[in-house]
Symmetry: C2
Subunit: 529 residues, 2 copies
């Protein structure tokens, strides 16, 4: 499809007047047409006003209609065909197969949310039976449902041009909950965002929804994002990106006349614990799996394993020898943007120059302008704990191994880690006691705990948690991947003694929508109707 | 029981060194013995360290053990007998019957949470079935449970010395979720707090729990509260009180190295909409019910009806005549503290002196030193919208009637209201269309919507929402009353490919704890075991 460089403000196309934004093909540094104009406060206000105007109508669409809308978006994205794959690949440097996989994930995510919407359990319906005869005061008729928060601002991520961008997880969850969405596209892939935005816009029209259900804005720098989060019509924010930008949005949201929730997924080094028996039994295999996870996608995953913790000794040495060899053999690969590449190189060089850090291996030298070389570093527990800089994320295929004198120190280091998206144990049956002692520490620090896998690869499902304590995210009570994410955008409302004719259909007597509910605290699954 | 004026830091009694805090009997202004010493940073640190040390053990208590603990607290509170009733009445000026009722509510709340804990649905267990054969990558085994956030700081409220204080809703919900609790007692009722704190402490000991599960601190001024919220071991905050204090705690929590959730219930004027047909049919009855709700408990409820909206005309005039007569006949009643009385009087006089406000009635003059006179004021819609001061809460038995020219204006005023705990409709069948048009507006602005009742009286149940958009609370996604409040203190954790021996019991194959769960998105109620 043809792309024009326009913002999509409801049904209106509009070329922003503030600056020229060009995607860059990181494989060769070339600027890609067309130019995208950034929007200003007027466009933010217009998109937000449309979203607010659409809210009441959109949130009362039937579950079937809303699910159909999500499925229409999914089909429209597929219908973009190869144009989308090629553009996304050009804008990110990610190989075609990866983009195809990501499209599958994005479409699957929308369809999973459609199923979830239809099932309706997320409405969290609760009924307390009235007791008019109770003394001294009668017990009222109380019925509870969850309603959406209101228009949501979503910030596209650099590293997933499809799955965490215009029609990504945050958008899917917010639309599923009944919230209109205003997306601020990531400036690294505006063409991909425009294409996907058009797919969503076409679905809005095809489903007869108010145009304000979806808008797509562009803006270089941080001013548009700040204006968007500050706008009174916006009631929640979804963000995936750097800690600095995420913390800035948290501050903007907290400073509003009406503070709003921010779901920012920011920074995680995803510790991998190599327990002694497993390390003794299979150091080479663990090393191979670890390096494969480390270099996947040029290391540009939120769940990239940036930290390895193990007890020093011959078993760890074997692991390090194998891992260093694998890293040294790994090619440099094109990173997403020149800025990400520059930040990675700076971080990698800084770590290599750190007095307490040894460089174990570097990958093959870069061939292209924005290729990142994988790197493996080592330090020991005391030095790691002495300098908080060593806990900072280096976004890319860089990892730091921390040698501990014993398992107790491994646990002590775990106690000192910042919040994480994931924590991984490599363990065998003989490690069970050590693993049991570590588990509560890891639960307090991470949203997902894995055994004998690697953290990259985040399954989209019902039981996934892609979240965790700060600074991994701004709000550990939720997830940004999986159906549980719909809860981010909901709040409970109680209806006391409403006449049947005024009650929302989901709460009426006789359960006309056939939904799951709990009555006086006892859950009742949905009847087959 | 004898009270000593000590803080309860785990199992240790400790008399604070910072200043003397005395309860005052607001019925006569007399200082009540004993003196309470305020704690400082050392006591905060000690209570928080004990709470952190207790967390892992407490959160893994069995559901039965934790429920038993809550029930033991309830019984211990009942066992305090008349001493508690008398002390609470002396410290608050609330009549004996009200305190007895509040004790029943507090004990009932603990027992309801005990049932909820036993049922275990709140663990939100989710399973995604693995698919080892899936290509290109196998689908992992994902299992999700909710775990508690960590130690919680709870601030006692002035207006509910039992139900929203040391063993109040926030404490009950946090303990139910598995969080140790550090209470900062309200300085208005330290003796009541010490008694109840001892009841909790005795339950901790009787149930063999680590002492850090509960601590009780005293402190005049705001410095101890600030230190408590700033302490790294604290992972969430529950607060009921003024908007100023709540917003200050939000700022403290947001400024931490690790920001944490604050559940502050602050300020609400609880609009009551009198729809035309109902007003025509039964103005006198509505007026009687409204004034009864207004003056209940000297107007010192978060849900006190501080705002009435109606279309001007003879029907509203009839309502106003009746309501004004009832208010004029109402006695002044003792308020909770000298400071609350002073603030109420200042607010009432300010409103009476406002150029756009007419005083319709004042209650009978005060006889005692800290009695508040009920008051009823009126203004019109244009003037109400012109001055945001008219939306500010006057804590006490004061209410403002806003005359609107028509129902459309009623709705327009509703659109401009701040967030509220409640919104009430007085309506008859003939008002249904107007009510339907108002409902979405009210849903966006309030946590609970009532028809033909009055907002005071917050039922403790499963379907209650005592919450709402800012400034009613700091977080509209939750409730501070009812079993749904347990969610405030939980976060999801995903376990990927864990061996059975390492999995928490709730997530093991065969459902050994007999809990409700969802499998691949399909809910399965708890088996009868």
């Amino acid at each position: 499809m043809k792309i024009d460089g326009d913002m999509l403000i409801g049904a209106t196309r509009l070329h922003g007047a503030e600056g020229d934004i060009h995607a860059i093909d990181p494989r060769n540094g070339e600027r890609l047409a067309p130019a995208y104009g950034g929007g200003g406060p007027d466009e933010v206000a217009r998109a937000c006003a449309l979203a607010a105007a659409a809210f009441d109508a959109y949130r009362e669409t039937s579950l079937a209609a809303r699910a159909g809308f999500l499925e229409t978006i999914a089909q429209n994205i597929l219908d973009l065909g190869d144009d989308l794959i090629e553009r996304a690949s050009a804008e990110t440097g990610l190989p075609r197969a990866r983009i195809e996989g990501e499209r599958g994930r994005t479409v699957g995510q929308l369809r999973l949310f459609a199923e979830e919407v239809r099932r309706g359990d997320w409405l969290g319906l609760r009924f307390d039976t009235p007791s008019p005869e109770r003394r001294p005061a009668p017990r009222p008729d109380l019925r509870l449902r969850h309603i959406p928060l209101g228009p949501v601002a979503v910030f596209g991520a650099s590293n997933f041009p499809l799955a965490f961008s215009a029609a990504g997880g945050d958008t899917a969850a917010a639309l599923a909950a009944g919230c209109p969405v205003v997306v601020k596209a990531h400036s690294a892939h505006p063409g991909t965002s425009e294409m996907v935005g058009c797919a969503i816009r076409a679905a809005v029209a095809a489903c007869g929804l108010p145009e304000g259900v979806f808008s797509l804005l562009f803006g270089a720098g941080s001013s548009m994002g700040t204006a968007l989060v500050a706008h009174p019509a916006i009631k929640a924010v979804g963000f995936t990106g750097s800690r600095r930008a995420g913390v800035a949005l948290m501050a903007t949201a907290a400073a509003r006349a009406e503070p709003i929730p921010v779901y920012a997924e920011m920074s995680s080094i995803n510790p991998v614990f190599l327990l002694p028996v497993a390390l003794a039994a299979r150091a080479p295999a663990i090393a191979a799996g670890f390096v494969a996870s480390l270099v996947l996608g040029a290391g540009q995953f939120c769940t990239n394993p940036g930290l390895v913790l193990a007890v020093g000794g011959p078993d760890l040495d074997r692991f390090l020898t194998e891992a260093a060899a694998a890293v040294a053999a790994a090619p440099a690969t094109t990173m997403l943007t020149p800025a990400i590449h520059a930040a990675y190189d700076a971080g990698r060089l800084r770590l290599g120059a750190h007095a307490a850090v040894a460089t174990l291996a570097e990958g093959r030298p870069a061939q292209g302008p924005f290729e990142g070389r994988p790197a493996l570093f080592a330090t020991d527990a005391a030095q790691f704990l002495a300098d908080p800089v060593l806990q900072e994320e280096t976004f890319g295929a860089s990892s730091l191994v921390v040698r501990c004198p014993d398992v107790a120190t491994l646990r002590a280091v775990a106690e000192r880690l910042d919040g994480q998206l994931t924590a991984t144990l490599q363990m065998d049956a003989g490690d069970l006691d050590d693993a049991r002692a570590l588990l509560p520490v890891l639960e307090r620090r991470a949203g997902r705990i894995l055994v004998n896998g690697y953290p990259t690869g985040v399954e989209v499902g019902h039981a996934m948690v892609h979240g965790g304590p700060f600074p991994a995210t701004s709000d550990s009570r939720t997830t940004s991947v999986g159906t549980l994410a719909i809860r981010r955008f909901l709040r409970p409302v109680c209806y006391q003694d409403l006449p049947q004719a005024l009650l929302p259909a989901a709460l009426r007597d006789g359960n006309p929508l056939g939904l799951a509910r709990s009555v006086d605290g006892v859950p009742i699954v949905a009847p087959a109707i």
